[in-house]
């Protein structure tokens, strides 16, 4: 009996250290964000002496964090919705319309992207964005984000669209729908769950992107959150309280959203790897 109990507990005992390694750093940051510098040095492990939100006040008043949040949201949502719309039409054309040769060529072009690490496009993209007069505008990120999102989104959507039976479209034709009507009234509603998945996949990628956001926007007011966090950390690199408060501000909303939408988020983030 006790042996059996031990056997049941064994996996948990092995997992405990790993779970601690994952969670403790986050907890440590949140603790530190409520302490002042002397406390962080002298009593790193304990709870803060008083529940003080002074660091948060400093972090919020010393920066345009509301701006950055709005910038990230605007760029993330615009790029993601455009990616979804453009990918949906392409995936529909490639899988449901009858142009086999053309469609193979389109698919082939998109497959090239699987071979190329995005970082190696950084410098020519930077030049291009400057030449097009997009440098230092939200467009400098929106267009590259759309183009980086399209291939994977098309692959995921196409995999789903292939599974829709032809009869549904025939019924649509019978009801007098045009090609556009079939896409809008029959295919889109059926694809909704997959669209949610690819929305999450793209939005998280765009929301978290750092390198291009750091390089293509130099105006401080246009910054996105990831760039702002890194800049903030550089600026306050000895003021651990304010720095950890800024980190906490950036991660707590994400953790809360994850707690609410866990299932969809896990599905969304892993979708790309399974199909790709």
């Amino acid at each position: 009996m006790t042996f059996k109990k031990l056997k049941q507990a064994a996996p948990h005992l092995v997992l405990l250290p790993y779970i601690l390694i994952v969670l403790y750093p986050l907890w440590f940051v949140i603790l530190a964000s409520m302490k002042n510098n002397t406390e962080i040095f002298n009593d790193p492990w304990g709870l803060p002496a008083a529940l003080s939100l002074q660091n948060y006040r400093d972090a919020l008043t010393n920066s345009y964090i509301g701006h950055y949040f709005a910038n990230s949201l605007f760029i993330g949502v615009t790029a993601t919705l455009s990616t979804l719309f453009l990918s949906m039409t392409i995936a529909y054309a490639v899988t449901r319309m009858r142009f086999p040769v053309l469609s193979k060529a389109v698919y082939g072009l998109l497959l090239i992207s699987l071979l190329i690490p995005p970082a190696s496009l950084l410098i020519p993209l930077y030049t291009l964005v400057k030449d097009l007069g997009m440098y230092n505008t939200p467009m400098a990120l929106i267009f590259p984000y759309i183009s980086f999102g399209i291939p994977l989104t098309v692959f995921v959507l196409a995999a789903f669209l292939k599974s829709i039976p032809n009869e549904l479209e025939e019924a649509g034709v019978m009801d007098g729908l045009s090609t556009f009507g079939i896409l809008g009234r029959i295919i889109m509603p059926l694809t909704q769950p997959t669209l949610v998945t690819v929305f999450i996949l793209n939005f998280i990628n765009n929301w978290n992107e750092f390198v291009m956001a750091n390089l293509f926007l130099s105006n401080e007011k246009l910054r996105t959150l990831p760039v702002a966090i890194v800049a903030f950390a550089d600026k306050f690199n000895m003021n651990y309280g304010a720095m950890t408060a800024a980190i906490a501000i950036s991660i707590i909303p994400v953790i809360i959203i994850f707690a609410i939408l866990q299932k969809q988020i896990i599905e969304g983030v892993t979708a790309g790897s399974v199909k790709g």
Binding site: P11, T89, I112, E170, T179, I247
Partner: protein, 309 residues
């Protein structure tokens, strides 16, 4: 009756065909998306190839210099340091991270309780931005207030303390561990899904034949989840080649270039040194090297699959 039905039938088929072979609709559906993709993906790729053959400071007109940028890379010691770091990154992922992922996944799958809790917790780091994670770990590695050094003090290992990100011996390893912390959970969730997709009957049959515990994992589970392990390996290899943001955030390649990878070295050549020709040549090398690695991997994948069958 019959001719009427036939006529209707053929009208119907042509009509359906017209709808599915509507040229204009096809053009409207495909062209805008393709235009953006070609402009912001394929065109830069092409430009990168072009600029890699030039001497260019980013401002004046580029001057064609043939392959001399590639020759420069071969004789550039700093480039080889970054190349070696990419190799270490790949080896670390393949031989340390992936086995760890499979091990943890099998353990999680054997837990009867808290399954969802484990899944959520391990997944959490990979939805945080690399920027936040980089900054969090900078704080953990920081010389005096950092978690790691405080921990070493607390357990009496003061002599192990060091400036983790400022020491040539530990900077890159510290980044690898942070990267591992960020992505391990993502792969665990992938592998777990594959383990749970194994038909129950198969495992039960195996148990009847006496395969239990680690024998079962080794003889049954691991061979059955081979495809997802291969996906995990491929993604970690390409992931190791892609890494750039975490390096820029945590060390900027320092100290003395010891934590530079090819992508970050390219970044430095372009934006610190203004040698855009050389930087593009490095970009081309990164792409080629990634493609070669993926092909070698595919080759090994096919060969070992044939062998195991």
């Amino acid at each position: 009756m019959a001719p009427y039905i036939l006529a209707r039938e053929s009208w119907w088929i042509t009509h359906m065909k017209n709808i599915q072979r509507n040229y204009w609709a096809y053009v409207i559906f495909v062209v805008p998306a393709l235009l953006i993709y070609v402009t912001f993906y394929l065109y830069p790729l092409f430009q990168s190839l072009q600029y890699s053959l030039t001497k260019w400071n980013g401002i004046n007109d580029p001057v064609f210099v043939g392959l001399s940028n590639f020759a420069k890379a071969i004789s550039d010691e700093q480039f080889w340091v970054s190349f070696k770091n990419n190799i270490y990154f790949v080896l670390f992922s393949v031989f340390i991270q992936v086995p760890f992922i499979v091990f943890i996944s099998i353990i999680v799958s054997s837990a009867k309780r808290f399954l969802n809790f484990y899944k959520l917790t391990v997944f959490l780091p990979c939805i945080l931005s690399t920027a936040s994670i980089g900054v969090i770990w900078q704080f953990i590695y920081s010389p005096d207030a950092g978690l790691l050094n405080q921990l070493l003090t607390a357990v009496g290992l003061e002599s192990w303390k060091r400036i983790w990100l400022g020491d040539e011996a530990t900077a890159f390893l510290s980044i690898l561990l942070t990267n591992g912390w960020q992505w391990t959970g993502f792969y665990i969730v992938l592998v777990l899904a594959a383990i749970f997709a194994i038909p129950k009957e198969m495992l039960e049959a195996g148990e009847m034949d006496g395969a239990t515990g680690w024998r079962k994992a080794w003889l049954l589970t691991i061979p059955l989840i081979r495809p997802v392990i291969m996906v995990t390996l491929l993604l970690s290899i390409t992931g190791a080649m892609k890494a750039l943001d975490i390096i820029l955030i945590m060390t900027k390649g320092g100290p003395f270039g010891s934590s530079e990878v090819m992508a970050s070295y390219m970044y430095k050549q372009a934006y610190t040194i203004n040698d855009f020709g050389y930087a593009n040549a490095i970009a081309v090398i990164v792409s080629l090297f990634t493609a070669v690695l993926s092909l070698i991997f595919q080759y090994i994948n096919v060969k070992t699959r044939e062998a195991s069958e």
